[in-house]
Structures are given as C-alpha cells and as structure tokens.
Amino acid sequence: MNETVPVALRKPWAGGSEPPFVRIQKITKRFGDFTAVEDVSLDIFKGELFCLLGGSGCGKSTLLRMLAGFETPSSGRIEIDGQDMAGKAPYERPTNMMFQSYALFPHMSVEKNVAYGLQRDGIGRAEAHDRATDMLKMVQLSQFAGRKPHQLSGGQRQRVALARSLVKRPKLLLLDEPLGALDKKLREETQFELVKIQETLGVTFIVVTHDQEEAMTLSTRIGVMNEGVIVQVGEPSEIYEHPGSRFVADFIGSVNLFEGRVTEDKPDYVEIAAPDLGGSIHVGHGVSCTVNQQVWYAIRPEKVRLSRERPESRRNAFEGVIDEVAYLGNLSIFRIRLANGVLVRATRANLSRYDDEALTWDEKVWIAWDDTAGVVLTR
C-alpha cells in the first residue's frame, strides 16, 4: 500500500491487499412499509472521492445519513476505519457532514460557526480561533469571519459550510448535494476547488448528488442508485462507456437504445436484428448471450457518425432524414428520423466557425458507427 500514489491511480477497488476504509455491508433501511435503502453493500477506500448518484428518492441521502449516524439501519453493518458504527451517536463518529441546506448556525458569526466543532472537542478558545482562521483562509473567506451567515451570498455560505465540516480534519467527509444551490458558473469553479481541497487534505469524501455531470467531474468512483439499490459501481469512464443496464446507460448522459434479438452469437462477433433500425447491428466482439435472446443496443450520440454519402462499409449504416437540429455552440445535436419513424440522436463537434456544408433540416443523411462503439445490454 503506497500512500503517496493517489488513490485514483492505485485503484485499490480493482483488487489488491488494501483494506477498505468504509465498509457498508448489507444495509437496509425501512420507514414503515417503505424501503428507502435495500441490501446495499459497498467498499470505499481511503482518499477516495466517491459519488452516490441517483434521482430524488433513490435512497442516496438516507444512505449518507446512516453513515453520519442520523438514521439507524434496519439491518446491516457499517464500519468506518475498522470500527463498527452500530449504536454510535453522530457526535461519536469520525465523520463530518456538509448539509445540503448548509445548516449554518444563524446566531453565530462565520468564525464561531467554524470553531464550533473544535470547541466541542475541548480545544481551547485560542487554538480553535487559530485553526478556524486558517480554514477560512483556505476557503478565501478571511475577511468575512465576523459576519453572520445571512450576510453572505450563497456561494460564500457554501464555503463556510465546507470549512466548518473540514476544520475537525474528519477521517470521512459526507457531502449532501454540496453544490446544489449554486449557479452553473460558480458550480464549475467550486467543483475543481473541492477536488483540490480533497487531494490536499487527503480526506475521504462521499458525495451525494443527482447531477451526473458533477459526479463525472468530481469522483474517483460513482455508485449509481435507483429505488434504494446500488445498480452499478465504477469509475466515471467505466460507468459512461460500459453501463451495465439500460437504467445506467439512460441515466448517465444521453443514449440511443435499440431493442433487438440476437441472430448470431460467435466468439468474436455478434449479430443483432433490430426492427427499430430496420436492419441488423453488427457487434465486433463477443458478448455473453444466446441466440434469440432479447437484448438492447446502447449507443451514445457522439459515437454516431453522420454523412451525406453512403458509408463505404455497409455494416451499422442506416439511412434517415434530419428531423431537428439544435445548435449548442460547442456542438450540434441532430435528431434523425429513420424510414420506420424511429428517432436517433447524434452529436457533432462544431470544429469550424464557417461551416457552409453544415447539415440542416430535412436533409437525407446516413448514420453509421464502428462495430465497437455501442454496448449490448441484457437488462
């Protein structure tokens, strides 16, 4: 276990001897008849920035609150740094939390808010003051130390909340939608700041978010949740390029999904009959499936090529008409209507400022993709 190599490069989750820092074993949480979290098991390693990603009500916040100690699991076991957390109150845990609403104490100044946690640990007023001041310097709020929370902007409050949760140097920091209340520009800046702080302090972060873009930028790994269950865990690129199910493929980024039936299943290629496309999809690698099995073929819009002329290779090429064009500046999104009415999304980077040859509405085009560009999903 080499601590100097960043966790993102060590990849302890891929195998090895490093013990997990947070160990969640078969955790279930029920509220009456409602099961918020169901049989979740998860290992998170030291120094990770792990994102729990899912829509609202998927159980991600409940899972986080169980780690912080605000909710008691109905069954299962949580271990942090080798210690069983059962029966431990929030104030006895080596965790700190940054709340979605920030939960700053309205009657205390910014500095008192930050120093609060230190004083609870019996640290003297002078030292608490010094450490709070250092922390405020790090989040660039030194000149606001004497203000009350309501005198700050949303972005400043968010940084106070971050400082307050980091000042005790917790082993594990839990962040509940940390950037939710910020506007887009501030959000992007703060994302990188957060990663920088996390790397500097070496604290393990668990972030709950519903924003997939945020999860992609921030995390070493993402756990996608749906209806109380962890659907897939993986590095951002793995989740994006190798989704394990239609739910994950659809939830992360945008995707074209075609239903089909396996017609040929060979060790080095697979052929899928896709009535949606009015033809057959050729997959250039082996897939664990059987002939006649129902499958879904998922292909990302940026991997769909567009051309006026018919592509040389006749594999994975289909003809259609441009139904809709959306210009986003950096790229354009096309919606192509195939002969049987099915719509396919394709994006194209706008590489030139003067594109006289740009594809436009009602043009006849060919769509095509490489035989390794898409993913075959069985569920």
Binding site: A68, G69, F70, A89, P90, Y91, T95, N96, M97, F99, S101, A103, L104, F105, P106, H107, Y116, G117, R120, D121, K148, H150, R164, S165, K168
Partner: protein
C-alpha cells in the same frame, strides 16, 4: 369591480367625501383599530391621569376638577401630592416590590414548566401536535374565575389534596396551602402557563432540525446542543412568553384575592382598596399610573434592545 352597494348613491357620496378628505380604503383599515385604541385605551388613560393629579374631596365624583373657571381666568391646579404620598407610605413601595417579585418568580417557574412542554409539542408528529395544542388552550373554555375557585377546593385544609395525603398517611395534619404565597404562585403559574407555552411553541416549531443535526455532527452532545443552539435561537419566544406572563401577573387581582392570604399585598389589591374601600380616587389613580410606568419603561427598553438585535439577526 364595483359591487351593487358601491353604486348605491349614499355610499358613493360618502366614499367621494372620504376620498376628498384623504381617507382612502387603506387609511380606513388602519383607522378602525387606531380609533378603537384611542377611544378605549388612550382616553380612559388620560382620564385616570387627570384624576391622579387632582385633589381628593368628599363629593360626587370624589375629587376636585383640575381646571377652575372664576369668570375671567382658568386656574389649572396640578396636585402631585398623591404621587408623593405613594413614596411616603412604605405600603405602596412594598406592594410594588412584592408584585414584581411574584410576577417574576411566576414567570420563571412558568418558563421552566412551559419550555419542556412547548418543546415536546413542537417535536411531536402532526396529528398529536394539534391535539396537544388544543389541550393547552382547553382551560380557556372554562371561566377563569371558576378555575381559580376550583383551586380553593383543592388547596383547602379539608380539600382534595389534603384529604388524599391524609388518606395515604403521608401526613397526619392537613397542610396549610390556601391563603399563602404558595397558592398565589400556583394560581398564577397555572393560569398563565398557556401564554408561556404558545409563543415558545410558535418559535420552537420553526427550529430547523438540520441545525441540531449539524451540532451533533460537529461533536455536540444533546445537552451542549441545547444550550448552544436551541436555547439561543428560541430567545425571542422566551422573551415573548416571559412578558406575556410577567406583565399581566404584576397587576393580578383575582388570584391573590381568592388564593392569597391577608398579607399577600399585591398592587392590584391595593388599587382595589383605594378605589372601593377608601374611595380615594386620586391616590388610586396615582397607584395605577405609577404601575403603568413601572411596567412600560422596562418593556420599552426591552423592545429597543430587541430592535437593535433585529438588525443583525
């Protein structure tokens, strides 16, 4: 959007005249409560103030007019002797001090009893919360006088409490509870408790639970969280509840009269005696005005302190 009544000529003319005088609908809405207070509070207060400055007389009414008209001159006589008299006789000063003491101690007890109740109600789930609130207000549905009389039945030497204690054998002599200061405190705390609970409840129910979680998360044990977060944030409720008990308790007459002993000399009783036993209206009015000053000055100071705070919180 004019209704039938607004097209009716007398209404239209009146409205036109009022508008001409600068009395639009908005002014009238404010004017009604304003006039109410003017007629039923300020004018009586001025009458009492006037009487307090006049000389007593054996007449009907039992005081001399302030302004005398001798045909050519108006003579204004302001008699401050009544106020000087209040200071000269220790009875009044003692009554004021005792009233304030009783009111203060009662308010503190009501706070200590009411705070946990308000906290519990505010933290209860919804259907039970409404029920508990109703129970707090329920005593108001019976006459206040009746309830204080009922306490006599409880506290008498052969009352419910003494009988029960004698029956269980805890005591062999009945306790003297009625006509003591204890009974007065009990009566005041009992009567005014809802006025403590309601503003505290209104404050505590708004308390953001995530603040308590944040405190716990940062290492605050429940008691620490209470003293550092809950208590300071509920200060407005505490002050409001305290004032709602303290202020009316100072002038309380019925409770010391029915439950207190002959030496329970609260200012309300002194006032009653001056008016109805001694028929000394000027001194009685002076007692009332002095009490108002004793009450209003601290409230105004408190309000200005709160207003200063309000700018920063």
């Amino acid at each position: 959007m004019t209704g039938a009544i607004e097209r009716f000529p007398p209404f239209r003319w009146t409205a036109a005249v009022l508008r001409r005088l600068g009395l639009g609908g908005r002014v009238l809405v404010v004017a009604v409560p304003f006039l109410w207070l003017l007629v039923f509070f300020l004018i009586p207060f001025l009458v009492v103030a006037k009487i307090s400055l006049s000389e007593p007389a054996i007449a009907m009414p039992p005081y001399l007019p302030l302004v005398e008209w001798d045909g050519a001159r108006a003579l204004l006589t302001l008699n401050f002797e009544n106020f000087a008299y209040l200071l000269s006789d220790p009875l009044y000063l003692n009554a004021y001090i005792f009233s304030i003491k009783v009111a203060f101690v009662s308010a503190v007890i009501a706070l200590l009893v009411g705070y946990p109740m308000a906290y519990y109600i505010a933290r209860s789930p919804e259907p039970r919360r409404s029920l508990l609130l109703t129970l707090v207000i329920l005593p108001f549905w019976t006459s206040f006088l009746l309830r204080v009389y009922a306490w006599q039945g409880f506290l008498r030497s052969n009352g419910v409490i003494n009988n029960f204690l004698l029956w269980t054998g805890i005591i062999d002599q009945p306790l003297v509870m009625l006509q003591t200061d204890f009974a007065v405190y009990l009566g005041i705390v009992y009567t005014y408790l809802p006025f403590m609970i309601l503003p505290l409840y209104a404050n505590l129910v708004k308390l953001d639970e995530s603040l308590l979680e944040a405190s716990a998360d940062l290492g605050g044990r429940p008691l620490v969280t209470f003293f550092h977060i809950t208590l300071p944030l509920s200060m407005p409720g505490i002050i409001a509840g305290f004032m709602l008990v303290f202020v009316p308790a100072i002038g309380e007459f019925v409770i010391p009269e029915l439950l207190g002993g002959p030496d329970t000399l609260m200012i309300g009783r002194v006032l009653w005696n001056e008016f109805f036993s001694n028929r000394d209206w000027p001194v009685a009015s002076a007692v009332a005005i002095a009490m108002l000053i004793v009450l209003v000055v601290p409230i105004m100071i408190l309000r200005s302190v709160q207003a200063d705070k309000g700018e920063t919180t």
